[in-house]
């Protein structure tokens, strides 16, 4: 593996700490990696075709998107009430509800639970929020084993890497790489690149863990306020294992995932699986409403829910930015993104890559670290077009560019507002606006530009990195039109 370029082979560089310069380097490196380009291109084409096949009826898709957007916006419009209702009903059902402002608090809560149970092993179902808070690192530092059990996450963890896609974490790896990884890292396993055999190896290793783990951890796809129910969407059955076999189940989710009514999950579940992987439905939809009751014979004796803010309440405070929170984490925006397809998920350096990552990460990490992210986009609009809950992603990217690049001011909507501000760039654009907004200024400027064209600089910021310099024409368009009269 060490011979591989580091983005594909062993990308162990920390996430959530990528400077603007490092981001440029990572993107450059990714774009110049032909293997990475090929595997993402193939995977994204596959996922786009599968999604399209799920929506043969345009009018059904339109109606389902409208319903799903409506449900998410309705839920957000009552978010504080729904969170309280959810908490009350979960508590009544016997679930312990915790609130965490940031990753440290969330990890401390879960470590506290692990310590109380003297837990040695936590087996994990797929949870992007647990990635967001760097849960595995926090547990490792405290001497508790946190083992991923989703096949993709297991592979990525075994390789010491991070997920490169929110739905398909190991999408950047070939089966040959995984075969080599298993042969190197799993005791007693010989090299095989037969996919069925590889999955059976993972099954054997992880079954042992499900059987003996002290605690199971999961994410939450939808939390239902009226019944106090946590819904999980999955194919493998590891989510059910983690939430059923160990004596303790901890679930962690962002505060935005709540819906009011149970029936609201029906359209959201349908559009989620079809948008994400092009499946009409996943193998399992798991609805958990409490710990094991006295007469029941299995299920965890304790269930905990950790509700995480981590910047979400900042997005919520602004009517436009609030739309970010409509997201149901399907990943369709990355599957259809020309930038994501070319640079893959690791280059962004954030837990959530792709278009959704670009609009959600600035709230989680602050614009000081993420001000370049909203510019990693062609604004082609594909993400907004496929979004199942109609998040206007391109519009939000433009808004975030503005927040990042405007001069710092009082009462900003976001932490880090103005982090990308440059006095020179700002001056240039203001001047440009003055010239182009007034015909007299424009006439004078264009006359000067054509006369002094030899002074056009040979290096023009990013433009000349891959193109010849711009040079004004010797005669203006208006002059040439006048000549022809």
């Amino acid at each position: 593996m060490s011979a591989q370029p580091n983005i594909r082979g062993g990308d162990t560089r920390p996430i959530a700490f990528v400077s603007a310069q490092a981001l440029r380097e990572r993107m450059h490196e990714a774009v110049n990696d032909p293997h990475l380009r090929t595997s993402f291109r193939g995977a994204m084409d596959f996922l786009m075709a599968k999604r399209a096949a799920q929506f043969p009826d345009e009018s059904e898709l339109a109606s389902l998107r409208t319903q799903s957007e409506g449900i998410r916006q309705y839920s957000l419009s009552k978010l504080p009430e729904l969170l309280e209702q959810l908490e009350a009903n979960l508590t009544r059902n016997g679930v312990q509800v915790h609130w965490a402002a940031d990753p440290d608090e969330a990890n401390a809560i879960m470590l506290g639970i692990a310590r109380r149970h003297s837990a040695k092993t936590i087996v994990k179902g797929k949870s992007m929020v647990s990635e967001e808070i760097e849960f595995n690192h926090a547990m490792e530092a405290a001497g508790v084993e946190a083992l991923e059990s989703d096949m993709g996450e297991y592979i990525v963890q075994l390789a010491g890497e991070k997920p490169s896609h929110i739905i398909m974490p190991a999408i950047h790896k070939t089966k040959e790489q995984i075969a080599r990884l298993f042969a190197d890292k799993v005791p007693g396993v010989d090299y095989t690149d037969n996919v069925d055999a590889l999955i059976q190896i993972g099954r054997q290793v992880l079954r042992e863990k499900f059987e003996h783990a002290d605690i199971g951890l999961s994410g939450v796809n939808f939390a239902v306020a009226e019944t106090g129910t946590l819904c999980l969407v999955e194919n493998e059955g590891n989510g059910r294992m983690c939430t059923t076999v160990p004596r303790v189940h901890m679930a962690i989710t962002g505060i935005e995932k709540v819906v009011e009514k149970l029936e609201h999950v029906a359209p959201l579940f349908s559009i989620l699986t079809r948008s994400a992987t092009g499946q009409a439905v996943t193998t399992y939809f798991n609805m958990i409403s409490g710990p094991r009751k006295p007469d029941e014979k299995d299920g965890p004796e304790e269930v905990h829910l950790i509700l995480l803010d981590n910047g979400r309440s900042q997005a919520y405070a602004d009517e436009q930015l609030r739309k970010t929170l409509q997201c149901i984490r399907c990943g369709a925006c990355m599957n259809h993104c020309p930038v994501y397809t070319r640079i893959g998920g690791h280059a962004y350096g954030t837990t959530y890559p792709g278009p959704i990552g670009k609009i959600v990460s600035p709230h989680m990490m602050g614009l000081a670290q993420t001000h370049l992210l909203p510019t990693v986009s062609t604004l082609c609009g594909a993400c907004g077009e496929v979004c199942p809950v109609k998040i206007p992603i391109p519009e939000l990217l433009v808004r975030l560019r503005g927040e990042a690049q405007s001069a710092p001011h009082a009462n900003p909507a976001m932490v880090g507002q103005g982090a990308g501000y440059s006095a020179l760039a700002s001056f240039v654009w203001r001047t440009w606006a003055r010239i182009y907004a007034r015909p007299a200024n424009y006439r004078l400027f264009s006359w000067l530009a054509s006369r002094f064209r030899m002074f056009a600089p040979s290096r023009q910021s990013g433009w000349t990195a891959a193109r010849t310099p711009l040079k004004p024409a010797p005669r203006r368009l208006r002059d040439r039109v006048r000549d022809r009269r």
Partner: protein, 224 residues
């Protein structure tokens, strides 16, 4: 001030004065309910779940235990675990199963974990119903029928009454008044466990059952 109170206070100061209107879901689902006959619904359910790699067998209300016994023999199931204290469980007669040992669930999972994980070939459960649109089974596990029966053994046999197939998930929730009281764990199951996490190649038997076999009763008129 706790994190809870701080988060809620922050949300309260910025939420809209009036909640947005409640979405009208009936408008979307009414045309999808279809006025199907039971055989039509069974056919749609069957196509759906077979697409997800499950096997479907039709049986009569009286002879389904014999069908189950035959399937167990065909698949070489040495031991079948089930909930004995259920309507279906009471109809299973160990004498009717030639090569298969019937094992009623006994005790709590902690008592039988090793047996369940290592020495049980198949689990048998009833179902609450199904969803025709996607070919999905609905399970409401109970104290008599624990949730791991449909999860841990490599083969899952499920008994479905065709009269309980709904057009959509939405219809099942509404018709069954689910919001009035859910069990500890309600489940939708569509096929055996699977993954496509290695190079988008589909593989069955990831962590749950490798095979899902559905026996449908009261499907009179459905194509055999």
């Amino acid at each position: 001030m706790s994190s809870r109170d701080r988060i809620l206070a922050r949300l309260r100061t910025s939420r809209p004065a009036q909640p947005l209107p409640l979405p009208e879901l009936d408008a979307h689902y009414a045309p999808r309910a279809r006025n199907e006959s039971t055989p039509e619904r069974v056919a749609r359910f069957r196509t759906g779940i077979e697409n997800f790699h499950a096997e479907v067998h039709l049986a009569g209300e009286g002879d389904w235990p014999a069908v189950l016994a035959r399937l167990c023999a065909e698949k070489g199931v040495g031991s079948l675990m089930y909930g004995a204290d259920t309507v279906a469980g009471r109809k299973l007669d160990p004498a009717a199963f030639a090569g298969t040992v019937l094992r009623p669930w006994a005790g709590s999972i902690e008592d039988i974990k090793a047996d369940l994980f290592h020495r049980t070939d198949a689990g048998f459960t009833q179902t609450l119903g199904a969803i025709a649109e996607t070919g999905t089974l609905i399970l409401w596990p109970s104290e008599a029928e624990p949730r791991t029966l449909s999860l841990v053994p490599p083969i899952h046999f499920a008994l479905l009454d065709a009269r309980n197939i709904h057009a959509t998930f939405y219809d099942a929730i509404r018709a069954g008044h689910w919001a009035d009281g859910l069990p500890t764990n309600a489940l939708l199951i569509t096929g055996p466990s699977k993954t496509a996490d290695i190079q988008q190649t589909l593989a069955y038997g990831a962590h749950g059952p490798k095979e899902l076999i559905v026996i449908v009763i009261n499907a009179e008129g459905a194509v055999q």
